[in-house]
Symmetry: C2
């Protein structure tokens, strides 16, 4: 599989940062400032939401929306709402009764920096805020578009999506998951939110069924590739580079794509998925370049 | 203050149960059935949501909606969504890092029956499901009504409402809250959701600004009366009758309406608020009888 050269990868990282900076500014604007004796809540929310992160999901929303000429504010607000759901899920996943992680994105996790109760509430607040942002007419003037976004995000975040996937992850050690079950876990736990990130761009842009279908295929492949690479980094990476504890899957005896396919098999699978993701974008020509670059970037983390 | 006689109180309890049974049936229909290895999640959700409760908030929504001739299904679905938010907040409030309660509505709390991680996820799932229900066109055919419901519920549940109030409650022991601060805590922690329960009926019924204003006043007074009575029951009640641990406010040194006003002062305040709540309903004549009965019922728990 041909690799992109270093300079094109650098150009992509610059674009990812630029898109991310726009999303960070929007998040900063949308998240209420700490105020009153309860200010600790929004301090914790802002600490965990504005503290870095690659903003992959917002990137997907913004550059999917761009395919259909969506206004920048609509796309950025929607992207910020989806990122709020992602950040809430990280805060809750890191809790002692869940993955029990002290480190996230290279800084203390929310319950370590604050405390467990505050972290639970910070996640809860972020979920409510995400839907409040989508419901606001500044996100889109058409109420039927906004309600479609709410519906899509609620489904992606709910028991048949992200939260269900997290439950599945927690009980995984009690089962002997095969490859298809591990893939289902991933589709729910991380895939649903990646999928809705692209779908949201389509909803905002009133995209055709065909366009939605293509972007759904792209999101599926990129999401799966992303997870496989994450598993590989957990398997092979060091904490400093990855920014969180590594080697957890092995320690906890969790089934992952690496334990299923072996490191080399997983690597090949990720590269094949990345290439397949790009194929879904064929109809969009140059406008889809950022989404293509992302699909390549996901597997470049392996090199 | 004149008390209602026993038989009218019994009639109200029967009506509360009837309205509650309709909401229970709706919740049972709306909450996905446990399925697959992640079935534990929906088991926990259903255990904590369908396990009793007076369904005060749904009662408010359904009988506020009835003032404006709203279709039963719309009112019941909206009521169920609001009750999902309430139930999620109870599950999270009961967690060891929060109020650390083992008993709720006379049965084991979610994290005792299942485990902490499952309880956190069950609350998270309920919040997402609530918004999914509101977004569904079966809740109301008009997208602008549905998005108004989402907006109102997200605000009520978020950092300026319920979750902010819970944070305030957690830090209350570090402060010396005066009466107005205790009232603000209550308005956020429980008042916001009671308020949106009435507001939702107004939104569904496209009620006038004046009607919304009146029902907002009613909800404010009933909500505050309700909290004062809760504080009194915590102060005076026994666990068996109340269905949860009592005497916690004193043990934890928490400022409450009883510590502020004394037991007799709190009792008088609750009765005055109940009477004032009823006055807001004057324009509705007979149609508002259930809401009036509820305002009376709240303080009858004291006798």
């Amino acid at each position: 599989m041909p690799k992109k050269n270093k300079s094109s990868s650098d150009a992509f990282v610059a674009q990812l940062k630029k898109t991310g900076a726009g999303v960070d500014a929007m998040l900063d604007k949308l998240l209420p400032k700490p105020n009153g004796p309860e200010g600790r809540l929004m301090e914790a929310v802002r600490y965990s939401t504005l503290g870095g992160g690659k903003r992959i999901r917002p990137f997907l929303t913004i550059h999917s929306a761009a395919l259909f000429g969506v206004a920048k504010e609509s796309a950025e607000r929607t992207a910020a709402a989806i990122e709020m759901i992602h950040c809430y899920s990280l805060i809750h996943d890191d809790l002692p009764s869940m993955d029990d992680d002290d480190l996230r994105r290279g800084i203390k996790t929310c319950h370590i920096k604050y405390d467990e109760a505050t972290a639970i509430l910070a996640g809860d607040a972020l979920q409510a805020l995400a839907f409040e942002v989508l419901a606001d007419e500044k996100t889109h003037q058409d109420a039927s578009i906004r309600i479609e976004l709410v519906d899509a995000l609620a489904r992606a975040a709910g028991p048949k999506g992200m939260v269900g996937g997290q439950m599945l992850d927690l009980v995984a050690h009690e089962h002997n998951f095969d490859m298809s079950e591990v893939a289902r876990l991933q589709r729910m736990k991380t895939g649903a939110l990646i999928d809705v990130s692209c779908l949201a761009g389509c909803i905002l842009g009133k995209a055709s069924e065909h366009a939605r279908h293509m972007l759904h295929g792209y999101a599926h492949d990129v999401g799966l590739a992303f997870q496989i690479v994450d598993d590989l980094l957990d398997y092979e990476g060091d904490e400093e580079t990855v920014g969180k504890k590594t080697g957890k899957d092995q320690t906890q005896g969790k089934a992952s794509f690496v334990t299923m396919l072996g490191a080399e098999g997983a690597r090949e699978q990720a590269r094949a998925l990345s290439a397949q993701a790009v194929e879904h974008l064929a109809i969009y020509e140059k406008k889809a370049e950022p989404l293509r670059d992302l699909a390549n970037f996901v597997v470049e983390r392996l090199s």
